[in-house]
Symmetry: C2
Subunit: 340 residues, 2 copies
DNA sequence: CTGAAAGCGCTTACAG
DNA sequence: CTGAAAGCGCTTACAG
């Protein structure tokens, strides 16, 4: 910048002002500076700018895993929304681990980010509370906690209940949930903590309808879904309605059922959660709980930019609306004959 | 850091050295400094460090779109591999646009990144050549260009040919390609430039086998695949073997065929490209060209770290091995003979 | 093994 | 509208 200033015969301050428009510069000087910048191929040094300004124009987005239907989509939408707000984004993978999430906060405190959006699964409410005092942060509500932190939450229990009611209304009598982390030892996988309220919503509806409610958990991947399907078919009473706590699990369940020649929706109805892009294109297409991503993303941006501007503002909590999208996997064929 | 130094009764240099281990520090001093750092909750300022060191420890990863089966997976793998090499990663979306790709280079030149991995579709060979002189860069070979830039390329033509040969070997007589960007006006979508060599490989094999080869293109999304399926079924001669230039397109094609009660593999065989995670779990599971992502990612990391260390090193080009993974979508039921 | 000085490249705050 | 001085928080290079 000093070189440009010397070449143009002005001070570095004037170059800075011509470039950033923070102070008025005469049209003539501005043009001269711009030409010189262009000719010399000058590029501002962001490290120096960040050091002086004490901000970077970059926000962190910390998600458990990038290679996941839901989080890939969510990250993509967040990146675009922040770009519209004039902020660059960095996407970090935490692997749903304490360490990964702490790293995201550390990177934020290192002044690498002006703020952080985190889908937290590995840290406790108390830890996030403490960390949120040092960094502008918005928590995406995978856990239903954090009353003192800005948060955009899903109504997990309510929406799971709505999905389960769909199964009941379609005539299912033997329900099952795939992905509720209730092993024989009672331990809860951190990656599955978000699914506890969904399981609650499921069980509430099953109990209210007086229906049996089986529960299997093998992990959170498609492969886990395949294994869950096998376990469902080994139950003494085969379920006829399955609620999966994510679409990814549902994809595996559909595959696992097909492996055993069990038909959907003829023999079993299946409903998922997240309404990822592929749900529409599967055969059968998958019914699913669809959170309103426009609201989720818009509120995350709004809350974070507000928090960056005013670190002392009172915490806000927003709940994202949802719908249950019905597709082939829960639609009984009209011309159906009784099973042989 | 100055405060920590004062508190510990040493110089800032000693704090820096205790923290970074660049120079030996007596065990006693080191422990004292570490305790003080811990107690005061000190965190290094990365902007200042970057400014002084002239490097950030961050690499940029620029992909056309995050919300895509293939690029979500690829980004995820690259992030992990760079982490193992001690480098943080920033994932940028370019939307396959000139502007997006130029922005990725600009961010790199701004000293925000030490290097850049880019899956480029929007920039010309000449432009990338010029930009690569200012920034350590590795090009992922969506385009088959760039002899003077470090590049990790796919053997697109060869692998597409191998996939097509699979269809021929399975008895298909009327081939079709989905996703080759050959509109009536001859214009090529930038997002589809990578698919031209795949189309070449397909047509070469079709011609060598003396088979007809239809060609449809509607875009690169699942929805485009659905539309392509419809167009295939409207052809005077319905194809019995379909090569899709991506798995995402294939997912749409499978859905579109199901909409018209056309069965896979009984009526039509389908093969995709990329071997994304979901290909295994679809019903029918999808045969696909599987690039060796371990090699792709490993070589990208190797070439970029080498280039960062030695900006003047001669350019290297690596080609990624592939396999064709056969699954249900091209496996004829045993009790069926190929058509006469 | 430890430290004092200088400077990375900007922008803030003060001055005119 | 323009500029000179100072300083953001580190690390490099020199010295002992």
């Amino acid at each position: 910048m000093r070189d440009v200033a010397a070449e143009a015969g002005v001070s570095p301050m004037t170059v800075s002002n011509a470039l950033n428009g923070k102070r008025p510069v005469s049209e003539q000087t501005r043009r001269l500076v711009m030409e010189t910048v262009e000719r010399m191929g000058y590029q501002v040094n962001v490290a120096a700018r960040s050091l002086r300004q004490r901000r970077t124009g970059v926000v962190g987005i910390a998600v458990p895993i990038l290679d996941s239907h839901y989080y890939a989509r969510l990250s993509h939408r967040l990146v675009r929304a922040f770009a519209r707000a004039g902020l660059a984004s960095v996407v970090e993978e935490t692997r749903a681990s304490r360490e990964g999430e702490l790293a995201a906060f550390r990177d934020s405190r290192l002044n690498a980010y002006d703020g952080l959006v985190i889908a937290s699964l590995g840290l406790s409410e108390r830890e996030i509370d403490a960390l949120s005092r040092e960094v502008p942060v918005v928590v995406l509500g995978e856990q239903e906690l954090h009353r003192t932190v800005d948060r955009v939450g899903m109504p997990n229990a309510e929406s799971a209940a709505a999905a389960t009611r769909l199964l009941v209304e379609r005539g299912c009598r033997r329900l099952a949930i795939v992905g509720a982390p209730q092993g024989p030892d009672g331990a809860t996988l951190p990656e599955a903590a978000a699914f506890l309220p969904r399981a609650d919503g499921f069980h509430d509806v099953a109990a209210a309808a007086g229906l049996s409610a089986a529960s299997v958990h093998e992990g959170v991947t498609q492969e886990a879904g395949v294994r869950c399907a096998r376990r469902l078919l080994e139950l003494p009473e085969r379920p006829d309605g399955v609620f999966c706590v994510t679409d990814t699990l549902a994809f595996g369940v559909l595959r696992g059922l097909a492996d055993h020649a069990v038909r959907v929706p003829e023999d079993v109805l299946v409903v998922g959660f997240d309404d990822v892009e592929d749900a529409r294109y599967l055969v059968p297409s998958l019914s699913s709980v669809a959170p309103d991503l426009d609201v989720l993303v818009g509120e995350a941006v709004r809350l974070l930019t507000r928090r960056i501007a005013d670190p002392a503002a009172p915490a806000q909590e927003v709940t994202v609306p949802f719908t249950v999208v019905e597709r082939e996997s829960t639609r009984r064929p009209h011309d159906r004959r009784p099973p042989p």
